[in-house]
């Protein structure tokens, strides 16, 4: 609404994405920022855009947006990362850029979709082999997943179970379970519509 950059149809996909990135960086309107970020996140669903997104450093843009105060921006950014992280090149970029801690922070978001996207992103980041990045299965993360796995929210429960079953060794899970009883819970559950059933 603030600006209307003119995009020549001949400029094509790269030009359009560039225009989006530019608007995101320059606009002061929160609405416009959200719209643009959602637009980019949806583009991140299509693998044919990945080279452009990398070229325009949209991955870094998503990672930076994870630290925004606006919950909606965080939700869209982690959604974008979730969409593009199954790709190998994107995965490496995210891990090298230190995105892991930013993503793990999203596990404590009050927004349901944010948490779901974060769990899925961790699943995809782990799927090439967690050995290279042990922080993917660090204790706080596993404990968090354990709590999610008994949640009443089916989607969260399913995803957490997949994470635990596919990427965590039984010993690790057992250790996390035993520690959980004693240590302070560091990562709160999302507020939206969840009733955790404590055993």
């Amino acid at each position: 609404m603030a600006q209307k950059p003119k995009v020549d149809p001949h400029v094509g996909r790269l030009g359009y994405l560039q225009a989006l990135v530019t608007e995101f960086q320059e606009t002061e309107s929160q609405d416009a920022k959200q719209q643009v970020l959602a637009n980019l996140a949806n583009f991140a669903y299509d693998p044919s855009n990945y080279q452009y997104l990398r070229q325009l450093q949209v991955l870094d843009l998503f990672l930076d947006s994870l630290s925004e105060e606006n919950e909606t921006l965080v939700k869209f950014a982690i959604g974008g990362l979730c969409n593009l992280c199954p790709d190998k090149a994107n995965k490496e970029h995210i891990l090298q850029a230190g995105g892991l801690s930013l993503i793990t922070n999203c596990l404590s978001s009050p927004d349901e979709e944010t948490v779901l996207s974060a769990v899925t992103t961790l699943i995809y980041l782990s799927s090439s082999g967690a050995g290279s990045h042990p922080e993917l299965t660090s204790l706080p993360v596993v404990q968090c997943m354990l709590r999610f796995s008994i949640s009443a929210n089916t989607r969260l429960r399913n995803l957490a179970q997949i994470f635990l079953e596919d990427f965590c060794s039984p010993s690790l899970v057992a250790e996390a379970q035993s520690q959980q009883a004693h240590s302070a819970l560091g990562i709160p559950l999302p507020k939206t519509k969840l009733v955790p059933q404590q055993p």
Binding site: Y16, A32, G80
Partner: protein, 366 residues
């Protein structure tokens, strides 16, 4: 908004239709007004929730409609789901996620038995295994897509080199008539010497290739032209090449590959060295008539077999203009319009003839 206890079958935020965004910058407005939403693989599902189904016992029709997009594994009504009065809510499980995606895209906001459907994904109905499979398929799809893209990008570099040689070879034979006719079409009035082959490429290419005597070319051209009796495209080609024999030696050279590629036709019909300009114009007119006839086919058939879709076009309304002279004028115009519309097949002929005569007056060449 949300009811719930978080169990499948309760209302979730992702079931609720988000309001459409109306403050988008023009350059990024889509074709349809859409809400600001991000779709991730989490949100998508082979399960679709369909709300707003009129309670008229149309479950079977609903399922049939959705089955157009892919195989349905199971379906059932969700009786406990909060629904508006006189509407029902259904859950449909597709075998493939892709079918569900397409069905959602096509069926959302569609009217059904007088109601407007609202279709959304319902991933909360998935089992762990189904979710796992969904994530795996997404990963595999991306791997495939990026691998293909790499392969395609490397292949693309090879293709243009090969294509270049292929094209030139193809141009050598079958495209010659095509070139002739296109030049015919593009410059009907201009039969000046620089014509007939407006494309530079074949000209250059062929000019360097052939080195026959003009006389021989002429005979060959006439051979190929004898099939012109049937008013084939070849005849136009022949007309052009035959018409401008003096103009350019190149034309003979160009005609050669074409004729050599054709069968040798009997020379029973001898084509004169000079084709009068009127003949070419008549050929054009004839072709134009053919096109019109072809174009007219749908209209002529509507009366007989074709199903007429859409409302019948209203005729020209007659309006009383409250004045005799004006009415007379209006009636004259109306009748003229009717005459013109009804005589469309004839009109071009008349026009072309007019053109032709006027042209022959203006552009007579000595």
């Amino acid at each position: 908004m949300a009811s719930s206890d978080g169990k499948p079958g309760s209302v979730f935020d992702h079931h609720v239709q988000t309001a459409v965004c109306d403050s988008r910058a023009r350059y990024r407005e889509g074709r349809r007004p859409r809400a600001v939403k991000v779709y991730t693989i989490n949100l998508e599902s082979q399960y679709l929730l369909i709300q707003g189904v009129p309670a008229v016992g149309a479950m079977k029709e609903l399922v049939e409609r959705f089955a157009l997009y892919g195989a349905i594994e199971q379906y059932n009504a969700l009786d406990e789901y909060p629904a508006e009065d006189f509407t029902e809510v259904y859950l449909i499980k597709f075998v493939k996620l892709q079918s569900a995606r397409v069905a959602k895209k096509k069926m959302d906001e569609q009217s059904f038995f007088g109601g407007l459907l609202h279709v959304c994904y319902a991933p909360e109905f998935e089992t762990v295994e189904e979710t796992r499979k969904k994530l795996e398929e997404r990963k595999a799809y991306i791997a495939r897509a990026t691998k293909n893209k790499d392969y395609y990008m490397t292949k693309k570099k090879l293709v243009p080199e090969q294509k270049g040689t292929n094209d030139s070879r193809q141009d050598f034979h079958p495209h010659m008539p095509g070139f002739c006719t296109t030049s015919l079409n593009t410059s009907p009035e201009n039969s000046s010497p620089s014509l007939p082959y407006s494309c530079d490429l074949p000209l250059c290419y062929f000019a360097s290739q052939s080195n026959f005597l003009p006389g021989e070319h002429m005979d060959r051209a006439s051979n190929s032209c004898s099939s012109g009796r049937n008013h084939s495209e070849l005849s136009e080609h022949c007309n052009y090449s035959a018409f401008s024999p003096k103009v350019q030696v190149n034309t003979y050279k160009n005609s050669l590959p074409c004729s050599s590629g054709q069968e040798v036709i009997t020379t029973s019909e001898s084509v004169g060295r000079f084709m009068p300009r009127t003949t070419q114009l008549q050929e054009r007119k004839r072709r134009r008539n053919c096109d019109h006839e072809l174009g007219m086919f749908p209209e002529t058939n509507t009366g007989s077999n074709e199903v007429v879709i859409g409302p019948k076009l209203p005729g020209i309304p007659t309006v009383d203009l409250q004045d005799d002279s004006l009415n007379t004028t209006a009636n004259l115009i109306r009748s003229k319009l009717k005459e013109v519309i009804s005589s469309v097949p004839k009109a071009p002929e008349g026009k072309s003839e007019d053109l032709h005569t006027s042209h022959s007056q203006k552009r007579r060449r000595i």
